[in-house]
Amino acid sequence: MSFLQNKIEKFDQYLSDHPKVKFFLPQALLVVFLFIIIGYLSFNASSNLAARGIDTGFSFLNKKASFDIQFSMIEFDSSMTYGRAYLVGLLNTILVSVIGIIFATIIGFFFGILRLSTNPLASGLATCYIETLRNISLLLQIFFWYFAVLRLLPSAENSLVLFNFVYANIKGIYIPRFVWTNLSFFIYGIIFTIFFIIIFNKYASILREKTGKHLPKFLISIGLLIIIPSFVVLTFGVSLEFSHPKLEVNMGISNYIGGVSIIPELIALAFALSLYTSTFIAENVRAGILGIDKGQKEAAASIGLTKTQILKLIVIPQALRIIIPPTTNQYLNLTKNSSLAAAIAYPDIVLVFAGTALMQTGRAIEIVTITMLTYLTLSILISIFMNWYNKKVALTEK
């Protein structure tokens, strides 16, 4: 061991005797190394592609895709381009990520708080939930929900019917679609209401600071939220109807037509992603709440704040500050993990673009690069947004 120590010492001595070497040598080595690696790989790629007559370039994005996609949020059929197919995949990725993030947050907060409960049954359940699901591979959970659970649903003829309007069968879950008349009036009404409530809340805060008068902000806001839209609905003839999914039987094949269909692949993926990620969020929430000094709560109580006020003004803002940064990471992970869609048939960007499109065009390098850059961009966007939000809630020391 001392021999090694000597060598390192000598090396350090040499470096400190030659500051230029210390500064340039490692950097130069790295540059040369990168240069060689990148040069070597790109040289091989270009010579391989040329030698084998493989077409390259991004022009394929404008070509007709000639395949269909099971589920898309924008219109798509086989006469549209690969570029459009990419967009469909991207939107599906975003859809499942958003659904996953919302549910993971709700479930995560629920179990995080439950784990701190004084009730041993409740905290035991939360611990059990967290320790089980976080220690099992996510892919396995997706497979489990998809192949083991959702495959148990009955066939379309014998669908499970919930509340008389939700139909669940092995081909998916079908719910009524909203059919609006004069929807735009309603949307304007909602926007106006929200705007109005914000102004009112600002006014109420100013009033409180100036005169010390408390307005029941919450109640009034809720009231506004009910009154104005219902006024709009009554005066402008806004109406909502439901288009129920109908069972259509074509000889021995029955399918639900109409309504909104939620494919089982989406359900399994969203389910697994939110449950898995919620365990990590729950741990963050627990750490956040435990991270607040007990003295703070006691001090707040001693100056006469009520329990809800303590929670709202003291605990939550401070806990959020601890919870948000690691939770951002979980949101990022969830988005990246949504790529496991490729394992079941959910048409996300990996399945549609790095799957079908890659195989139809054979352009492995271009497509894998675009896919990676897409995820990189999504990650960066989420980081930027969460950094901005984090700054907003961060302690502003005066």
Binding site: K20, V32, S66, I170, N250, M251, L358, M359
Partner: protein
């Protein structure tokens, strides 16, 4: 800041020079290294002593491995024929099971030298992804499988909302898009990467119909709970000529594979099989003489092989008819040869003459 100061001292120049010259040297070296070792696949195969063959991950009758890792199937026999021709031993093949996604990259990158994995010959594949199809060893077409309980008798009876299971990234996916578009039926494709998942999804009822090449429908139905509950609809919606593929730009290897396949089929035409080939050696028919590699025939030379190459193929692997019987007929996967009968017997199997 420190950085700038040192540049001003003028030492930076030398370092940049050193880096540049070193990297150029490295690039030149790698370039030379690459071009110098471009050996033909035929020589490489002879040297390494086995044929690198890409097959499917398990399609009974075409390429399927049993529990102890022995591959059988009509696609496998193409590789065995090449091994018999080039190396003298049909068993000297190293099989690589590939998914549909990996297959072309594996061939392009040299992980395999022959891709014999029920691959459809299309213009796009032949022209733009650096591959060459050497021939057709199975004429196929896309069909639909439905449950008998559905009562469907024809593909024209599909209605809006039908759920269709198929493999990801195959010509099947494209054909079915064309087909349903032409019928203006709104359908939902459910695509999986692995063939086994497709079969299971259909079998479980996730889809109303399962579409792929008809041969594969027959082969895959053996993996279902009850194969007798399903029926393949009579219509064929596409042409699927399946055949072995090699890398573009190595015509020697391409010729060896092409003519191994051709002689394999032609032997059946002249009634030469593994059982009678030794007695056929005395045949007066010049075409048969060429197949058995009799005295004076020199077609092996042109391919860079010896003159017994075709004899070994038939002796060790058999002819096409034997292979079909062994893999598809006796196993009851595709008992009828249909278009894959010889042209002389009402099929469309017709190969250029081996001479």
């Amino acid at each position: 800041m420190k950085f700038l100061i040192i540049i001003k001292r003028g030492k930076m120049k030398n370092i940049i020079k050193a880096i540049c010259s070193f990297s150029i040297l490295a690039l030149v070296l790698t370039a030379c290294g690459d071009s110098s070792k471009k050996a033909s696949t035929l020589d490489a195969t002879k040297k390494q002593g086995f044929v690198k063959c890409g097959v499917s991950q398990g399609v009974p009758g075409f390429s399927n491995a049993d529990a102890s890792g022995n591959w059988t199937g009509i696609d496998v026999d193409v590789c065995r024929a090449v091994a018999a021709a080039v190396l003298g031993d049909a068993s000297k093949v190293k099989y690589t099971g590939l998914s549909a996604k990996e297959r072309f990259t594996a061939l392009q990158a040299g992980e395999i030298d022959i891709l014999s994995r029920n691959t459809t010959w299309t213009l796009e594949r032949d022209a733009s992804i650096g591959l060459t199809f050497v021939g057709v060893n199975f004429y196929d077409g896309q069909g639909f499988m439905v449950r008998k309980t559905s009562g469907l008798k024809s593909v024209n009876e599909f209605k809006n909302g039908v759920k269709v299971c198929t493999n990801l990234g195959t010509t099947t996916e494209l054909n079915m898009a064309d087909f349903f578009k032409s019928k203006s039926v709104k359908y939902e494709p459910v695509v999986f990467e692995k063939a086994d998942e497709v079969v299971q999804a259909y079998d479980a009822g996730r889809c109303d119909t399962y579409t792929t090449d008809k041969s594969a429908l027959a082969a895959q139905s053996t993996k279902m709970k009850d194969p007798t509950e399903h029926v393949v609809l009579p219509e064929t919606i596409s042409k699927e000529p399946l055949g072995p593929v090699v890398r573009q730009g190595d015509s020697k290897w391409e010729d060896v594979v092409r003519w191994s396949l051709n002689v394999f089929i032609e032997a059946e035409e002249y009634g030469v099989n593994s059982g009678n080939i030794d007695s056929m050696k005395d045949s007066k028919n010049p075409a048969i003489q060429r197949i058995v590699g009799a005295e004076g025939t020199k077609n092996g030379e042109a391919l860079g092989l010896d003159n017994q190459w075709s004899y070994r193929i038939i002796k060790q692997v058999g002819n096409y008819g034997e292979s079909y019987k062994r893999n598809l007929a006796d196993t009851n996967i595709m008992p009828e040869r249909g278009p894959n009968q010889l042209w002389t017997k009402g099929g469309i199997l017709y190969v250029p003459p081996v001479r």
